[in-house]
Amino acid sequence: MSAVLHAHPESGPSLGVDAGKRRRALSEAGQRGRWWRFAAILIITGIVLVPIMVTVLLAFTPGANSTATGLTLENLNNVFSKTLAATWLKNSLVTTLSTVVVSVAVAAPAGYVLSRGRSKAVSGYSLLLFVMQSLPIITSVVPLFILFAGMGLVDNLLGLTIIYVGSTMTVATWMMAAYFDSIPTSLEEASWIDGCSVFGSFTRVVLRNSLPGVLSTAIFAFLLAWNDYLVAIVFLRSNEIFTLPMGVQSFFQQNATDWTSVMALAVVMMLPPVIVFATLNKYFSVGGIGGSLAGR
C-alpha cells in the first residue's frame, strides 16, 4: 500500500490496477470509519447537550411537593399560575418582534446603500458601523440610562426596544448589504430603463428578491433581542415589565431550590429561539455574518 502511495506517476501501467485495489480497500475502511465517526459524534453530541437535556428533563419531572409520577406538565402550570410568566413571555415577544421588524426596516435600506454606493462617505459609514458594533454596550448603557430616565423610557419596553434596534442594526446592516451584493445590478438597471425610480427599484425589484437575506437578518435580530440580559438588567425595574431573561433570573434567585419550576420557566424561554431556528435554520448562516464582513 505504502509503495503505491509513494509511487511516481511514471512508474507505469501498474498504477492503475493498484489504484483500483486501493480504492476498494479504502471504501471498506471508509464504511468502518463511518460508523466509528458516527459513534464519536453521538457521544460528543450527548455530552455537549447534557445541560439542555437536564433542563428539559427537570422541567417535566414532578416537584418535591408533587404527588404526580412520571413526566408531568404540573411545573409549567405552576409557573404560569403562580408567577408573571405569561406577562414576561408577552413582554419578551413584543420587544423582540418589534426589534426584528424595525431593525430590518432600518438595516435593509442602509444595507442597500452600502451595497450599491461607491462614495467615500459610504465606505466611511461602513467602517463606523464596524467600530460601533465592536464597542462594549456597557459604555452606552450608562449615558442612555440617564437620557432615557429623563424621557420616562427606563423600566419601559419601548426604551428597551430602541436600544435593541440600535445594537442589532450594525450587524444587520452588513448582513443585508452582503445579501444585496449577491443580487446583480442589471435587475435594477432594467427597471430604471422602464422608468422606475431608484427607490421603487429598491423596494419592488431588489427587496422582493431578498427574502433569504431578510430572514437571515431577522433571525439574527431575534436571537440578539431575545437573549439579551445586560440591557434588561439595567433598564428594567418592576416585575410586570420584566422580559423573560429577567423573569427567569429573578425567579431563579428567589427559588433556587425549586429546580423543577425554575427549569419549567427556562424551557418556556428557550422554546421560541429553538423553534425559530429549527424552522428557519436553512436561511441562517453565520457564514453570512462573517461573509458580510469579508466581502465588504
Binding site: 432600518v106 435600506p109 448562516s285
Partner: protein, 319 residues
C-alpha cells in the same frame, strides 16, 4: 435659478425624475446618479439617526461622565483625569484586565479548536450528519440565562450532579464555582461551550466551498493526512478563520451574561472581567465616574483594535 427650477419641474411633469437636480436634460445617466444620491441619503437616514442616538451620543456623554464625579442622576463636577487615575492605579482593574485577557484567549482558541474538530468530523460521511449539525448548534441558540441556570444545577453545590460524579469516582469534591481557580476555568469552559457552534458554522461554511478533488490529488501525490490538513485545509479556511477570531475576540471582551450569570464575578472577584467590573462599579457601588472610565478605556482600546482589524480584513479581501 428660476430656470433650473422650471426645467426641474418640467422634467418632474414628464415623470423622468423628481424636481430639483441641476443636471442638463438628456443626460439620463447623471440624472439617475443625482436621483440615486438623493434616494441613498433618505435610505441611509434612519440608520444614521439611530447610530447617533444609540451609539454616538452615549459615547460622547460617556467621555463627559468619565471626567466628572457625578452619579446616575446628575453629571457632577469636572475632575479631569482623576477617575482614570483611580481606575488605573486600582489592583481590581488590572486583575479584571488579566482575567478578561485569559477569558478571551481561551474563549477564542478553545471554541475555534472544538469548532474546527467538529466541522472536520461533520464534513465526512456520517449517518445522520445533518441532524448532528443542527443539534450541536443548540448551545449557541439557547439563551445564556437558560444555559447558565442548567450549568448552575450541574456544578454549583458539592451535591450537584458533576461534583457528586467526581466524588463517586474517588476524585474528591471539586468546588467548581467556589474555588477561585476552578471557577475561572469553569467560566471559560462554559464560554467555549456557548461559542463553539458559531466557530463550527463559520468553518463548515468555509469548508463547504473547498473542492474535495484537491485531497484526492494530494493523497495520490503521497501527502499524509496531517500534511493535507496543514497544507490544504488550513490555508483554505484561513480567511474565515481570521474573521471568526476577530468576531469572537469582540464577543469575549464584551461578554457579560456568560460570566455574570454563572458566578456573578466571584468568588473573591476571581472571574470579574472588565465589563462585569464596570457594571458593578456603576450599578452596585454607584461610582459612575470610575465605572464609565473603565468602560471608556475598553472602548478606546477596542476602537483602535477594530479600525486596524477592519483595514486588515479589507486588505485581505482585495487580494
Amino acid at each position: 435659478m428660476s430656470s433650473t427650477t422650471q426645467s426641474g419641474l418640467a422634467r418632474a411633469r414628464r415623470g423622468v425624475a423628481p424636481a430639483g437636480s441641476g443636471a442638463a436634460p438628456g443626460k439620463r445617466k447623471s440624472k439617475l446618479t443625482a436621483q440615486a444620491t438623493r434616494t441613498f441619503f433618505w435610505l441611509l437616514l434612519p440608520s444614521v439617526v439611530l447610530l447617533v442616538l444609540i451609539h454616538g451620543y452615549p459615547l460622547i456623554y460617556a467621555a463627559v461622565q468619565a471626567t466628572h464625579d457625578g452619579n446616575l442622576l446628575q453629571t457632577g463636577n469636572f475632575v479631569g483625569g482623576q477617575n482614570f487615575a483611580t481606575v488605573l492605579t486600582s489592583p481590581a482593574f488590572w486583575k479584571a484586565a488579566q482575567f478578561t485577557l485569559w477569558f478571551t484567549i481561551v474563549g477564542v482558541f478553545g471554541s475555534w479548536l472544538v469548532g474546527l474538530g467538529l466541522a472536520l468530523l461533520l464534513r465526512t460521511k456520517i449517518p445522520g450528519g445533518g441532524t448532528f449539525k443542527v443539534l450541536l448548534l443548540l448551545p449557541w441558540v439557547v439563551p445564556i440565562v437558560v444555559s447558565s441556570t442548567a450549568w448552575n444545577w450541574l456544578v454549583a453545590t458539592p451535591d450537584s450532579l458533576i461534583p457528586s460524579l467526581f466524588r463517586n469516582l474517588g476524585m474528591g469534591t471539586p468546588l467548581f464555582l467556589a474555588d477561585p481557580t476552578l471557577a475561572s476555568i469553569t467560566v471559560m469552559v462554559f464560554k467555549v461551550w456557548v461559542s463553539f457552534p458559531f466557530m463550527m458554522m463559520m468553518i463548515s461554511a468555509a469548508l463547504a466551498s473547498v473542492d474535495t478533488t484537491v485531497y484526492e490529488a494530494a493523497s495520490m501525490d503521497g501527502a499524509t493526512r496531517w500534511q493535507q490538513f496543514t497544507q490544504i485545509t488550513l490555508p483554505l479556511i484561513a480567511r474565515s478563520t481570521y474573521i471568526s477570531w476577530i468576531l469572537m475576540t469582540i464577543f469575549c471582551v464584551n461578554d457579560f451574561p456568560t460570566i455574570y450569570l454563572l458566578t456573578g464575578g466571584g468568588p473573591v472577584n476571581a472571574t470579574t472581567s472588565l465589563v462585569v467590573l464596570a457594571y458593578r462599579t456603576v450599578f452596585q457601588d454607584f461610582a459612575t465616574g470610575p465605572g464609565v472610565a473603565i468602560a471608556f478605556l475598553m472602548t478606546m482600546t477596542l476602537v483602535v483594535i477594530s479600525v486596524i482589524l477592519y483595514r486588515q480584513i479589507r486588505k485581505s479581501s482585495v487580494e
